[in-house]
């Protein structure tokens, strides 16, 4: 424990204190930090804490006053970090988010669209309070941030969207912690500049994890609640067990979240190494900048991605695209991580750039002709049809601008997403298989499949950097 101060109020001469004492990240590592008194009523993203507010001061750990100001400092710091990135500038329910610091007995914490709710329970060395851990309060606040950015995820009936909420919340805790200069310096020292190592930054909620292990030894990691440095890779959650020990991945949202939080932590480390003047020993200022960039990329990806069953792949694909606007070197870093984690298939990752470029070219031409008509095109990889450019087709659904797929569990292929894209792919596969497409002048010099002279219902037309599939006619269906 460092920098411990005696409890006192004010500065002894009647003036209000300007600093408070708080934990850096969690009561178990127990590193104290002195911070400016947080303004909880500050907008955007204000908080409503329980009254009465204890006078700001350097209280000792173990007191209710210390817990109050630790939670307040962490939430203000985290909200200030995310506020510029929240499009609405408000919580999902309004300008002020209520915080209930101790709602009763439970080794847990909740976000319920009304408040952040914290509890207490038996721990290794006595009572633990979930609201005393900056990791935990910034995790719960992360749910509220994501709920403001993408409220459609709240009720989505999907294991991936529920797990993503948990993963985003864990990343919120990590990025909020990185807004502390002292913690950035400590982590870079502890990891010797190699951020993607298990550290108290990657390990979340160590104290509550210890308390839970007393009751359920295999329910959490051996040294924390969850660790963002992990080796879990994507599998279709529909095929996973619905629960299991922490050492295994399951479809339970907190378990499955580790695939995405692990990927984000890896990307953060990759970005840091890429932007550091000395990649072997990045500076804390470079780490601060990297934390802002990964947050920008994450929010852009979330904002742009349609809410679909294979949400992980869609967000990943959107993040790869968004990262190009931050730094031209970043898409390759993101693609590599997402492919290693099987969140994106090798094919999807490889095709992202050409597909997006094609869509951008077509969108630009279409925008001039029909400024108010949004594109409802999706780009399909077309090599199986003997083509060298992406194939644009109209999707009769909520539009996906490109088909991003996770890797299949077995083999090297892709897990095709369900719904509109599956339907589109199946439809186009069927057209080509039955020889119903006129390649015209855009096809291969050697026929990919020679169907002879058959009635063609569709033709291929060059459009921008891609090829568009056009219907020529409807027939009666008797075309063999």
């Amino acid at each position: 424990m460092a920098d411990q101060s005696d409890a006192h109020t004010g500065n002894g001469n009647g003036a209000a204190a300007t600093t408070v004492s708080a934990w850096e990240d969690d009561p178990e590592p127990a590193v104290l930090v002195t911070r400016p008194v947080p303004d909880l009523s500050k907008t955007p993203l204000a908080f409503d804490f329980p009254a009465p507010q204890p006078p700001p001061a350097m209280y000792a750990p173990g007191t209710a006053e210390f817990r109050y100001w630790t939670a307040a400092e962490a939430l203000r710091r985290g909200a200030d970090f995310w506020a510029p990135r929240v499009p609405s500038g408000a919580w999902q329910m309004g300008d002020v988010l209520e915080v209930i610091l101790d709602e009763g007995a439970d080794l847990n914490a909740y976000y319920d669209r009304q408040a952040l709710n914290f509890f207490h329970g038996p721990g290794v060395g006595g009572t633990v309070y979930s609201g005393e851990s900056p990791d935990i309060v910034c995790h719960e606040m992360g749910h509220a941030i994501l709920d403001s950015i993408k409220p459609q995820l709240w009720n989505a009936a999907s294991a991936e969207t529920a797990a993503f909420h948990e993963g985003f919340a864990d990343i919120s805790a990590i990025l909020s912690a990185l807004q502390l200069p002292s913690l950035r310096t400590a982590i870079l020292t502890d990891t010797q500049g190699q951020l993607y190592r298990s550290s108290r930054l990657s390990r979340l909620a160590e104290q509550l994890g210890s308390a839970i292990r007393l009751q359920a030894p295999d329910a959490v990691d051996p040294d924390c609640l969850r660790n963002a440095v992990n080796s879990f890779t994507y599998q279709d959650p529909i095929n996973l067990p619905q629960g299991g020990p922490a050492s295994q991945i399951s479809s339970e949202p907190h378990s499955f979240s580790r695939v995405f939080s692990g990927a984000c932590f890896e990307i953060l480390a990759g970005i840091l190494a890429a932007k550091a003047a000395n990649p072997a020993m990045p500076t804390e200022q470079e780490l601060l900048a990297a934390s802002g960039e990964i947050a920008d990329i994450l929010v852009a990806g979330i904002t742009q991605a349609p809410v679909v069953a294979n949400w992980y792949a869609q967000v990943a694909a959107s993040m790869v695209q968004a990262s190009a606007n931050v730094n031209a070197a970043y898409p390759a870093i993101l693609r590599a991580v997402f492919v290693r984690r099987s969140i994106l298939s090798l094919q999807s990752a490889a095709n992202l750039h050409t597909m997006q470029a094609s869509l951008a070219a077509v969108a630009s031409m279409t925008a001039e002709a029909q400024p108010n008509q949004p594109l409802a095109s999706i780009a399909l990889s077309s090599d199986s049809y003997g083509l060298t450019r992406p194939l644009l087709v109209e999707a009769a659904s909520h539009p996906r601008q490109f088909v991003a797929s996770a890797a299949a569990t077995l083999g090297n292929g892709s897990l095709e997403p369900a719904s509109a894209s599956t339907a589109a792919r199946a439809f186009v596969d069927d057209l080509f298989s039955r020889g119903r497409v006129d390649y015209g002048s855009v096809g291969p010099t050697q026929p990919h499949l020679d169907h002879g002279r058959r009635l063609r219902s569709h033709k291929l037309v060059s459009e921008g950097g891609a090829i568009r599939l056009h219907r020529c006619l409807f027939d009666c269906g008797f075309a063999h």
Partner: protein
């Protein structure tokens, strides 16, 4: 064959409910219920520790219709 929702339940509970209607949502609802994270809440009652969803109805095939009430840390 995916089960269909009971129209009365859907109509009664609005759009903010989770109706198991395809493979992904059926798997999701089954897992939530099997983990004990979905419960029926009596009028004026509250969710017990660990629960995140309220059971607000059921489909014609007997699967529960859920409404998310909160996210939990663990």
């Amino acid at each position: 064959m995916a089960p269909g929702p009971a129209e009365t339940d859907s109509a009664a509970h609005g759009d903010d409910v989770i109706v198991p209607k395809d493979e992904a949502s059926v798997a999701f609802v089954r897992a939530v219920v099997q983990r004990g994270e979905a419960v029926r809440v009596p009028p004026g009652g509250s969710l017990p520790p660990g629960a995140t969803h309220e059971i607000v109805g059921e489909t014609t095939d007997g699967l529960p219709i859920l409404r998310r009430k909160r996210f939990a840390l663990f």
